[in-house]
Structure formats: C-alpha cells, structure tokens
C-alpha cells in the first residue's frame, strides 16, 4: 500500500551523522519522506516545537507521531516497516548491536573528535586513545562483510554514518589518517563494502564540504 510522502517527515542537518543514518534506514525500507533541512544554530520554531526536550535533529514525524533520538528512530522504522530488517531478531545479538552503537556515538564519535581537535595530552596520545577505541570495532568485524553479517544492519548504519563519513573526515582535515589500512584491515574492508552500497552513498554528505564543516567544528572546540 503506497503511503503519501507527507505521511513521513524528517527534520535533519546535512552534515549530521545522526540525520544521515535515518535517511539510510528510510531508503533501505523504501519509505518516501519529506526532508526538511534544519539550521542547527538558528533553530526553527518547528524544530523547537517538535523536540522541546533536546532541541536536536533528527526528528521523524510519522502520521502525526513525533520521534527523536536517532537510535530510537531507527528501531521505530525497523518495527514499522518490516522489509529489509535492520536489527537482528535474536535478543543477544540485538543487545550487542545496541551496546556497540552506543559506544560509537558516545565514545568513538564526539570524544574521539574532541580529543584530537583539542589534544590536552598531546596529539600522539589522542590518536592512540582514539585508535584503541576503534580496535574494539575492528575485532567485532572479523570475518564479516558488515557488522550485520551479510547485509547492513543497525550498527552499520550508526557506525557508518559516524565514523568513516564524519569523524574520519574530520581527522583527515587535520592531516591524520584515523583508520590506517595496516592497523585496521577489517574496518577498511567494511568501509569499502559500505561505499559500494547505493543507499549509503546517497545519504552521506559531500566529502569536501564535510571536511570543511568538520574543520569549523574543530575550531569551535579549540576555542571552547
């Protein structure tokens, strides 16, 4: 049954990995939606009305229901449109996917980037600590095409939007290779696998623009 495009709206920001992964999930499920680009500095009345608690993107609106927090939105999408499942069925596999997704967003993402942008303990230590964190993910990928197995899943969407197509580009802008091939062969293979998928390519920000954006974010971090 076809749904009107207006049934689903997504408020997002072009450079946000949190928005990007929701776009990927909607595309994976073949869901049409209206995309509303947001200014995350000068926030719109609509964004503040729809997400008064956190005032952040992404926000998904589906048939009048308002959802915030990207992980919750991904799970909602997965439970509402049942084709191309994103989360594993098995409760333990699900728990692992959720655990690693939280790890990506709370530790590998912002912390990793902040510590490299403003290296209080020196840049070498920041790089080492950051790479120590992604070593956990390298191990999780061993022998698999994707974190989800043969096809992309929840953790691929979360880690994919955050790491190679956001944080790593930030590091690149600072002249550092976050995920060198010799140290992280599995992750490099995974990034290549991800890049071969059309819906991923369609939902990641433009490379040069993203690097430029991340440099601005780094400047703000340095001045803070």
């Amino acid at each position: 049954m076809a749904k009107k495009e207006e049934d689903v709206k997504l408020l997002g920001f072009w450079a946000s990995p949190f928005s990007g992964r929701v776009k990927m999930a909607l595309k994976l499920k073949g869901v049409s939606y209206e995309y509303l680009e947001q200014d995350i500095v000068d926030k719109s009345a609509l964004l503040l009305e729809l997400n008064p608690v956190f005032k952040k993107v992404p926000v998904l609106v589906h048939e009048g229901k308002i959802l915030a927090e990207s992980h919750l939105i991904l799970e909602y999408i997965d439970q509402t449109w049942k084709n191309n499942p994103i989360l594993p069925q098995d409760p333990y596999e699900k728990a692992m996917a959720r655990f690693w997704a939280k790890f990506v967003d709370e530790q590998v993402g912002p912390v990793c980037f902040k510590s490299v942008a403003k290296p209080d303990k020196g840049i070498e230590v920041a790089i080492e600590e950051g790479q120590e964190l992604i070593t956990f993910l390298e191990k999780e990928l061993t022998g698999k095409d994707f974190f989800g197995g043969k096809t992309i899943g929840f953790l691929d969407l979360v880690a994919g939007s955050m790491i190679p197509f956001c944080i790593a580009r930030g590091w690149e802008g600072m002249g550092i290779n976050m995920i060198p091939e010799e140290k992280f062969p599995e992750l490099n293979r995974w990034i290549k696998n991800l890049s071969d998928i059309e819906i991923v390519r369609e939902c990641i920000p433009h490379r040069e623009k993203q690097i430029e954006h991340m440099m601005k974010v780094a400047e703000r971090i340095k001045l803070a």
């Binding site: 608690v53 927090e69 919750l72 333990y92 699900k94 728990a95 956990f136």
Partner: protein, 230 residues
C-alpha cells in the same frame, strides 16, 4: 534441548548502583532466578574486566556464557528473552520509542543533574544544579501524568521501562534531599511522582532489592567529599 531462557544467569553488580538496581528489578519482574555477585572493587575486578573490557563497569548480566552490558540494554534483553509476565516495554513501536526516550532523558539530564548537586563545589554551583534538577522533576511530573493516564505507574497498571529507569534514581534523590534540605519529589509540586514513589518502593519486585537509605547516605558521604555532604 534446553531453552535459552533456562540457561544459568549471573549478575555482576554493586549494591549502591542505581544502574544495577534497574537490572535486578527487571529480573524480579520476570521471576528469573539468578546468582547475584557483589563486586566491591569494580576497577580492579578480573571478572568485570573480562566481561566488560570496554567500560570496566557494572552491571553485567551473564546469561549462559554471554555477557550483556549497560543497564537499559540489560532491561530490554530481559524483557525480550523472558516472555512470561507483563512486558516491561510496550509492544507498539511508537509507545516503545516514547518509553525509551524518557529513559534517555533520565540518564542524560536527570542523573547528570543529580550528580551535579552532589559534586557542586560551592553554594552558587549547588543552587544552579538544584534548579536544574527541579526542572527535571517538573518535566517528569508532566510525563508521569501523560503516561500513567490515571493509573499507578508510568507503565500504566504495571511497572514499565520508565518506572524502572526513574525509580532507580529515587535512592540517590532521597540522599540529596537529606543533605540539601530540598524536597525534589514534593507532595504539592510533584504530587503524581510523590505517590508513585511510594507505590514503586512497595512493589514486590522492588522492595527486596532497594538499597537501605541510611546505608546510601553513608556511602555518599564517603564517596563525595564535597561541601553538600559535610
């Protein structure tokens, strides 16, 4: 062949931790028999390091030989693995997302504000932290009214995900109330929460595992050597 739900369950925890409490309440709600292992020194514990090398933190649920980490993750795992008894999370995808959203708020804002009051270095910092925490309580009062729809818990007639997430914070809140002189859960300002707290404490899944307040007070005094606890 045995069912997965029949495999041996162990929980590594620490008695003062509200996060551990969440997992114990969930296991009790589902009547899951489990062995509880008190970890007194989590940073130096071999078991903790072995099962949670990423964060080196408790709670850790070990089901058979599989470790599950992080309190809310564990609560969801328990809900999805042991299917008898009332569900902790609703089955409707939107209602699930709402319940989980409020637990994100509780962990990111509420718990952070509780900590903020505890570690405040001076009166000014404490006042600001108290104000923040009072705002959290006001929002959660509204949420309680909306979610409970006149029934006893955030989850309706039964304890649900938000009840567990927020109820586990009642101990730390009571400790702060004792030291700061501020009633965060107030009979007039937050009447819904006020009565809900009594119901929560009295629940058969909660009562046996809720830490004794006096013990928590002593623990806080030793842990936080900050102005509020002197």
């Amino acid at each position: 062949m045995g069912l997965i739900s029949d495999e041996y369950v162990r929980l590594l925890g620490a008695w003062p931790s509200p996060f551990v409490l969440r997992t114990r309440i969930a296991l009790n709600l589902k009547r899951v028999p489990y062995e509880y292992l008190e970890e007194e020194d989590t940073l130096n514990s071999e078991s903790v390091l072995n099962y949670n090398p990423v964060h080196k933190q408790i709670p850790i649920l070990i089901h058979g030989n599989k470790p599950i980490r992080e309190s809310l993750n564990i609560v969801m795992y328990v809900d999805e693995t042991w299917l008898s008894g009332p569900p902790i999370l609703p089955s409707d995808p939107f209602d699930r997302a709402v319940a989980r959203f409020w637990d994100v708020y509780i962990d990111e804002h509420c718990f952070t504000s509780i900590n903020g009051v505890a570690v405040a270095k001076d009166e000014e910092e404490r006042k600001a932290a108290v104000a923040k925490l009072e705002m959290c309580m006001a929002l959660l009062e509204e949420t309680f009214q909306e979610c409970s729809k006149g029934r006893g818990f955030f989850g309706g007639d039964n304890i649900g995900f938000i009840d567990i997430g927020f109820g586990s914070m009642l101990g730390p809140l009571k400790v702060l109330e004792k030291f700061s002189g501020v009633k965060f859960i107030h009979p007039e300002k937050t009447p819904g929460l006020f009565h809900w707290a009594d119901r929560f404490y009295a629940h058969e899944a909660v009562k046996p595992v809720m830490p004794d307040i006096e013990k928590l007070v002593e623990f806080a005094r030793l842990k936080f050597n900050t102005s509020i606890f002197k």
